[in-house]
């Protein structure tokens, strides 16, 4: 027991245990126990969870209330969808909806997306570039808190309106759908759908590992410092705008990859999936799970997605109210999310053990371990 305790105290051991559990659940239990339909649904939740992992880094660690991750999710999704439409149309072909609504000619900016390699690069590079430029401009002016949240939300609203307005080139409200293949694989084949699930699961695990490393690195400490004392870090010689931008770019890239995988798994992307409401839904899962923890955002996001899909099947009308109530309860009473509840429960017996016997408390001094006037200051004088 004691050896387990001491092992548990090392981050590496906890990582390995967590990783093992995660891999068993994601790669063994879920594929074995779920129908093709349910597995595909889970794959969709995993894509949303990728956005949540990024939000956990930017918001939980970095204090940036990113209310517009739909922009980056949408960029990744639309880039992927455009490529799939072009691939379906064949060499020199034009996507079906353009023949229907437009002139039947392919816009110039669609052309590069015929290439699978260019598409994959753009899915990472374009959101990174947008988030980098935008983030640096915003953070350099020390825009933060509610102002940053409103700004990011306005951005996503504008993005959705732009998509709807450009029906000839983006599919408008209908979005892009009806994909048949994914890099040469038939999307109607259940085996390929399972493969997509495994890809999504592996990518998600990879993202969690990246954030795990970032959290324990000096960059993670710096990000916390910028969150709590932005001015102080400036006087230490750091450029807080740059630190925040890096975290924002990582969150954006994670969201874009989530979006890109969402497209072949779900089979449709439309402005309704990337607008204001989904952007807030991304955030809700993170808040409920616990934004400042490593796994809180992932688990919270998957739980909210699953509850949403399960409850809306049974009570289609009541689900929204339920989600709202949970959100209010958590934010109101557990600001640290459900992860805080876990922490509180874990500390309960420990606190009881540590509570000093009332007869000895006056002689030993409860504060001596915590505050200055005690052995610690004695030592300095010596």
């Amino acid at each position: 027991m004691n050896t387990f305790r001491s092992l548990w105290a090392t981050t590496w051991f906890r990582l390995l245990v967590g990783l093992a559990i995660g891999i068993v659940v994601l790669f063994v239990l879920a594929p074995a126990g779920l129908s093709d339909f349910r597995l595909s649904l889970l794959a969709r939740f995993l894509c949303v969870a990728m956005v949540a992992v990024g939000i956990g880094l930017a918001w939980g660690q970095g204090g940036m209330l990113v209310m517009g991750q739909g922009v980056f999710f949408g960029l990744g999704a639309y880039l992927m969808a455009m490529h799939l439409k072009l691939a379906d149309a064949g060499p020199g072909g034009v996507p079906d909806f353009m023949l229907l609504y437009g002139t039947g000619e392919l816009p110039v900016w669609w052309e590069p997306l015929r290439s699978p390699a260019v598409t994959v690069i753009l899915i990472v590079a374009l959101p990174a570039l947008v988030a980098g430029v935008l983030g640096y401009l915003i953070f350099r002016r020390a825009v933060r808190g509610a102002y940053f949240a409103i700004l990011s939300q306005a951005l996503v609203a504008a993005f959705a309106i732009l998509l709807i307005g450009q029906q000839q080139t983006t599919g408008g409200t209908n979005g892009l759908n009806g994909f048949r293949g994914f890099f040469g694989y038939d999307l109607n084949d259940p085996a390929n759908q399972r493969m997509l699930y495994f890809i999504a699961a592996a990518v998600l695990v990879g993202m969690v590992l990246i954030v795990w490393q970032l959290r324990r690195s000096r960059f993670g400490e710096l990000l916390v410092a910028v969150r709590d004392q932005e001015n102080r870090t400036r006087f230490l010689g750091y450029n807080p705008a740059l630190v925040k931008t890096v975290a924002y770019v990582i969150a954006a890239v994670f969201a874009a990859i989530g979006g890109a995988l969402f497209v072949p798994i779900v089979g449709i992307i439309s402005p309704a999936d990337v607008g204001v409401v989904p952007s807030i839904a991304f955030l809700a899962g993170v808040a409920i799970g616990g934004r400042a923890t490593l796994l809180g955002p992932v688990l919270g996001s998957i739980a909210v997605s699953a509850a949403g899909s399960g409850l809306s099947e049974t009570f289609p009308a009541a689900w929204t109210y339920f989600q709202g109530a949970v959100f209010i309860l958590v934010v109101g009473f557990l600001p640290g999310g459900l992860a805080e509840l876990v922490g509180r429960v874990r500390r309960l017996p420990a606190r009881r053990r540590l509570r000093p016997d009332p007869t000895t408390a006056s002689t030993t001094g409860i504060t001596s371990g915590i505050d200055a006037p005690g052995p610690d200051t004695e030592r300095i004088h010596a």
Binding site: V224, R232, F235, L236, G237, T367, P373, D376
Partner: protein
Amino acid sequence: MKVPAIDVGELGEAIRPEFVRQDYLEVRNLRVSFGGFVAVDGIDLTVVQGELRFLIGPNGAGKTTVVDALTGLVPATGDAAFGGVPLLGRKVHRIARAGVGRTFQTASVIEDLTVEQNLDLAAGAGRSPLSLLRARRRPPESVEQVLEGIGLADLRHRRAGILAHGQKQWLEIGMLLAQNSRLLLLDEPVAGMNAEERAQTGELLRRIAELRTVIVVEHDMEFLRAYADSVTVMHRGRILAEGSVAEVQADPEVIEVYLGHPAEEEAALIAAEQAAAYEQNPEENNA
């Protein structure tokens, strides 16, 4: 009164700048105005390394504004250079990297990080982006020395947020040392400390000032008398007097300014009483 000394013997290399040289701060005709209000009205100031300079004056005299201007927080006109490097018009983090460090009236350590992490962060502004991605294994040697020097080595793994007030101030000063600042601008470092903590801080500042340039903005006259090498008195954005403690105390203009504000004297008296009460029973006050 016997003055207990902080064990700064091991500060050694930590407080020694890379090159031992005669640094100095030179300020000429520094002016800061907010809208129509002139907060600092063309002051000249020269402070050399090895001198513990105090900057005093009544509330609103412009002391903190001078520090703000020198560290890039507020725009100013005129000239200011440290070690030959001009300071005005540069970004805050660039000035910090040029070797200018400051503290604030309210201790602003990073409360969610440990004492060691705070110091490590302060020591790391020059780190490469790649090294930032690695986990911190052990802090650099300079951080170890600073930990010993400010007497917080035993509390290194404690969250900075739960430190006592005085310890937070020492951590702040320690962060400037870890940062390897060669010019330290300290804004009321002993405010809220008891007599013992003041004495320790004073000794610490003396040691630091041997090898670095230090300016202390302070209200506490007793502290000033005990530790200042030289004093600059500000009043309404101008410099009223400058010199040794004795010279400044004998200056009729300074007496006029300080006696002309009975309310302030009263406030100082109350503060002194509080400090005395705190000294008698620090345990109770801290609980």
